[in-house]
Symmetry: D4
Subunit: 148 residues, 8 copies
């Protein structure tokens, strides 16, 4: 049995590579999906496809058409969602993805440093699991496959 | 026809009073619900009911039991959700509430200053309406009742 | 028992007044809701609330935020949807509303002149009832209340 | 990961061939489904299976039984819906399919020439993405698979 | 607390009057709804509203548009469904209504004479309760209100 | 693309063999499922597994546990349901299965002789397609795969 | 705003009276519903309505038809469910009701003595709130109405 | 066709091995999933992943995060749920799993010794099938595949 895991979170660094690499080392039968990680392409995709937009807000809204389409398709195919939070960036998109997962009854693992517990308290409370690092997130998933 | 409106957003100032007052002036047949606005009580409600918790994280988790229960009941009774965002605070709870509204097919109005368009782009894109202030939010609702 | 009826269809003439007037004559316990019938206000509502938009397409998209919000709230409160089609206008919005009603399991009555049967065939086939004029639509609803 | 794409739209020309051909050139892992494109067979299918019908309206209604059955099965198997609109034909069936996709939470891409923005404004507003040609629609889908 | 009860079953005699009369004697706070009980009007309603149909099958299909619309609206408003079966008539419409109730998670009480247990076995098995007469059906409902 | 088809209907003769055989001749990529066709085993399965029951009604109820379990699992896996009706037998189980399919949004094809149109009128009206024999039912399905 | 609260739990003592009395003292706008509290009537209701059953198992199964019907109707009308657990009795019915509430997205408050935390751990984890006594449960509900 | 079966029940002995072994002997095309059967690991998994917890209640709550995540994923992938009950242990987790299955419309087979019929009466009544041992449970499943 293979599980598809959606990796929600900021796209400013390549934290997902660490997750995939560690999952591979653990030989977990997982297929990872997620957003476009090329941050500037993600921001520009609306103009890339539709042409220049009148201002920054419309540039963002057109980009979001394509990014949200991607997320809807890929999260729709996912069995579990991992949402990572960190100190930097607003991460309202991450919170939106995490909450959408819960509302769609998709199991959700939140990964956040301990000192972000307060602003994430309501979301953590509704998620299945809250951990502090990706190793623990993978342990949570590994446990699903363990027989002893 | 009366509509119930859930006011999601930070609880650090009384912006909701402005919304209710303006709605009253406009004579809109609205019933407003929302979170506990006494910020320290909201943080302490877990310990208030269940007693002292072992640490800050568990204090937050227990408070979230009661705050999330309240939100689930009141948002469940709502016809529309207004989610306000501002420059201060993480507002991951606000993003969570906004996203939950969308996922439950509850109409969502996002209120945010113009310069927060970028971090809110995906959420704005999925919401029904994005405006910059509560007057516009009330205009959006007023329009539902207008016959001309 | 009162029923709320959403009147979907073009907003270029006041056909809804005829429906309401006839329903009143029949003393049907119905509450009618529908879109903004002031056609230019409906087209301008985006700019009315949010200010001038960069072009006609964005003017339409912003107006649609508010018109779709209104429809979502009012159709959500409806027990039955009547969708009227005629010779004039594209009426893709009417077809969208009719199809949304079906998908949400809301009973749908289509009103269309006989000679529009061909382009409406698939929608008529999925609707509960297809009639040729509003009198027949009201007869369909009257029948729900009849005891003999 | 392969995606199944439902191509909704008029069946008076073979625009779907262009989509499939271009998707193949792009090596997109897509499986395309759609309505019966033989227009006269689509119109006649009711009589083809059930025999001659009393009039044109019933001929259409019987054909719609089989066409709607086909759409329900194939759209049910689809991950994404592309709905194409053009200047010719009423296209109420296309609008119906597009709206049904949205209501079933199936991602929707609308393809329409720029000058049809006004009659399609409400549907475009609810769709995930609106583009002007099939190349852009395929770019939207290509983007789902892109990793950089 | 008042409950709305849909009375599904044949319309060839006035068994529903007995149910309503007995419920009134028991002072049960129930509102009863059901199909058109005037059997010939029920069969003719399609032609009554739309005019003469080409044959008996289309006459039935048009009547069913209006009868099914009525059932969908009234059963949609119901809290409980009682479906009565007897020795006479095919009663496939009754079985359809009973099964629709179960599928919509509406509590279902089946009333049938003992010797019809075999053809109704699967439906009885899925229903909440199977009784032999309307008195027992009303006892089942009375029990919902009892406090001792 | 293979479709799974549930064959609902009486189990007193082997009409399903005809369907499967014809489908094979047409080379339709279909997988057929259905109820236990050994009529006495179907009636006895409760006692076969659980032992003798106190009376005929309980024998039927216990058998229905296992038959309904089988139907729920197999219909759940189906893409289309064909429900056959004939002159003999009450067929309330068939009507129950047909109605359950509709309520679960599973496409339904009803097969019935012409002269049963009246008692089946409401069910036919809600089904996707009503035909008179299994050849037409297979044509309806064949049409889903046809490209011209 | 009044809320309806379903009180799930054993029916061997009148703990519900304490809840209702305390809620009244607190002037909470609550309407309480729950199972038949007359324990022997609850056990006997099947035989009371349908007559003597062949054995104890069937007596229980027939009683459960009526008790489950009552629960389905009353829990369906509820906004919140309180499920009480104690040291005595198997309480599998209580666990069933609690889990059904969660699955139907009805907010759930579990009341249990501290030393039952271990066998209730999974259910507590999925419930909104777990408290140790009815006073705390009412505080959780009171909090929903509090404005400061 | 292979079916996935979730084995819910106590994890204090290896009854699941018996089920799997017997299913294998019967050559049933089944894939079995279930909870972590290493009882102490199941209790400790929260501390194993997250570190020592402040007390026994929090140790249980953290363990339940991971156990409920596992159940949600695996039950989500299941076609049928078998829930076993016995004389020992509270088994509120088993009742929770059984009830969750019913609420999610997943077919449920309850296995329980005859003399536990009374405390399980309501759950048995809502389940598809209640049997007394795993052989009968496998017979119920075998019957789904039988053609004669």
């Amino acid at each position: 049995m293979e599980l598809t895991v959606y990796l929600a979170g900021q796209i400013h660094d390549n934290w997902r590579e660490e997750v995939k690499s560690k999952a591979k080392d653990l030989q977990l039968p997982l297929n990872f999906v997620g957003p476009m990680e090329n941050h500037s392409r993600s921001d520009d995709i609306g103009e890339e496809i539709l042409g220049e937009q009148p201002d920054a807000i419309y540039k963002d809204d057109r980009a979001s058409d394509f990014n949200n389409l991607r997320t809807q398709v890929l999260m729709g195919k996912s069995d579990i969602v991992i949402a990572l939070f960190g100190e930097k960036y607003k991460q309202w998109n991450s919170a939106m993805d995490a909450s959408a997962a819960i509302a769609q009854n998709k199991p959700l693992i939140i990964v956040r440093p301990k000192d972000l517990h307060h602003p994430l308290k309501e979301l953590s409370n509704k998620a299945n699991v809250t951990v502090e690092n990706v190793d623990q997130a993978l342990q949570a998933i590994q446990y699903i496959f363990d027989t002893e």
